[in-house]
Amino acid sequence: MDSKFNIQSYTHIRNGTISLNGNTLFESETEDFSTFIKEAYKSQHIEYPKFFKMDNLSKLAFIAADIILRNTSNSEENIAIILSNKASSLDTDRKHQESISDTDNYYPSPSIFVYTLPNICIGEICIRHQLFSENSFFIFDNFNPDCLWVQTEHLLKTKKANKALCGWVDFDDSNYDAFLYLVEDHGTFNHSIKNIKELYLCK
């Protein structure tokens, strides 16, 4: 199904590689996500100390969003955020669970607890880019371009937003996969479900 809107840019973060519009921006051979994402942060010359306080899901979403929005974002552009994943915040939920499982050593960490919701990563992106726009976070069994398309088209057609940052950010037990894309009036690819699928699957 075609649309009058277009995909202006897209990014992948998977398998130790960050790419923008299909072009590799950063590569690392490390298999450890914490090391990888810290190297990625430094390679992109981002100066945002709060990054180090985020959980893994938020770090993944934050870097992906920063790569796409660094040249475009400000609150006046009214960019909606529509994200999705499979694991929700399960990775951080487990860490919180571990901290409260021993009643004799019961010291839950407030800084872990605040990330026990997946949409917190959207909040981190909004704070960074000063966005006060519509946002949603969906949990699916698999990447679901149909649902993302419907939600995005609705927000743009009803002028609830001028642009939409959409996609998939999944982190669980050291496995990670991020694919974000920016939809607006102008862009290289038509905002169609077919194109979203193809861009998600491409490296």
């Binding site: 810290k38 100390p49 180090f52 306080k53 010291y107 839950p108 960490s109 407030p110 800084s111 605040v114």
Partner: protein
């Protein structure tokens, strides 16, 4: 433990527990403000410090007003702990 050593210990703990990755112990001055213009800690950091006081020093801080004063600086925090633990 001398108060001076306690101050250094607190700086190490704060850097580690609050994930202040871009700071080292030498970057934190004894009288730097922990909140506001100093280390720019936030409300979640304050809660982490309260947990740290309880977990590592056995001090339970329940009065928010007391927290505002206790977390003013490393010097104030170290003196507060020392008074209550004889460290």
């Amino acid at each position: 433990m001398q108060v001076k050593e306690l101050r250094e210990e607190l700086k190490e703990k704060i850097i580690e527990q609050l994930n202040l990755e871009e700071l080292s112990v030498s970057d934190i001055k004894d009288d730097d403000a922990l909140f506001g213009d100093g280390l720019c800690l936030d409300s979640i950091d304050a809660l982490e410090l309260i947990v740290m006081l309880d977990k590592d020093y056995g001090i339970q801080l329940t009065d928010p007003k007391e927290g505002q004063e206790v977390f003013k600086s490393i010097t104030v925090l170290a003196d507060y702990i020392a008074e209550r633990t004889n460290k």
